[in-house]
């Protein structure tokens, strides 16, 4: 799907992301993460052996809620639902986004090293549907 210009602009500017997956018992669970919008997909990274990675390998349908800070006077966000896939590559973190990574340089370098070692993986989520939350006008 092609996101609306409003949704795409928001996703380029905001990285605060909550990933909703299904556990092995079928119940939902939620993981706060940092997400980057690029090339029509939301990109996350996590440890290959993490619970969230295991969940989405078993059940790749996920939801992501990308929002402003809680105390933003114009609290708003974008909900996207789609299919997640593990991408085995050390793609640059945050490149192509308007906002820099929300972590310090040391953390970003450690993440890059773990990606290169294969301990961390990139997760690409291509949306099937998207909706706006709050007032975006």
């Amino acid at each position: 799907m092609v996101p609306s210009p409003v949704a795409e602009a928001f996703l380029r500017e905001h990285t605060r992301t909550f990933l909703v997956t299904l556990r092995s018992d079928g119940a939902p669970t939620c993981h706060p993460m940092v997400g980057f919008w690029r090339d029509g997909a939301l990109w996350l990274n996590t440890y290959r052996k993490s619970a969230k990675a295991r969940n989405l390998m078993r059940s790749p349908h996920v939801a992501c809620v990308v929002v402003t800070d809680d105390d933003d006077p114009r609290f708003r966000g974008v909900v996207l639902r789609g299919r997640a896939e593990i991408v085995d590559s050390a793609a640059p973190l945050g490149s192509g986004t308007a906002r820099p990574p929300a972590v310090g340089g040391d953390v970003a370098r450690l993440v890059q090293a773990r990606l290169a070692e294969g301990k961390r993986v990139m997760v690409r989520i291509v949306p099937d549907e998207m909706r706006l939350v709050g007032e975006h006008g």
């Binding site: 119940a27 939902p28 669970t29 996920v62 939801a63 809620v65 639902r81 310090g104 939350v133």
Partner: protein
């Protein structure tokens, strides 16, 4: 090597959630896949309450399948990341004024505090 514990104590969870008023609520949609939405959140006598739009995605999803998670986090810096997830079953308390209020019953709580990580 055993994984280091970075979870919060019950009192720390109380203090953390007492100051939070927004949660991301994870549900299961009609198609069986996960869904999520922000909700107004409160933590009252160690019970999670949340309010969503009547007839909105969360309300509709939970009337069909009450399994739910409420996720609350803060990220002032990498070392300051904290979060709590409350898993359970959503019980509908009221539907009025265009809003539906739910309580999370049978809650199972997971928490993390990156300040506890050894570096």
């Amino acid at each position: 090597m055993p994984r280091q514990r970075i979870d919060m104590t019950p009192d720390e969870i109380d203090a953390f959630l007492a100051g939070k008023h927004v949660a991301i609520v994870g549900t299961i949609a009609m198609d069986g896949a996960p869904d999520g939405d922000p909700a107004a959140f409160s933590w009252v006598t160690r019970q999670a309450l949340f309010v969503v739009a009547l007839g909105g995605p969360v309300h509709r999803n939970l009337l069909r399948d009450p399994r739910v998670v409420c996720s609350v986090e803060e990220f002032p810096s990498y070392a300051g990341i904290k979060g709590v997830a409350v898993h359970g079953t959503a019980a509908l308390l009221s539907e009025r004024g265009g809003r539906a209020t739910f309580r999370v019953d049978g809650a199972r709580i997971e928490s993390f505090d990156f300040a506890r990580m050894r570096r």
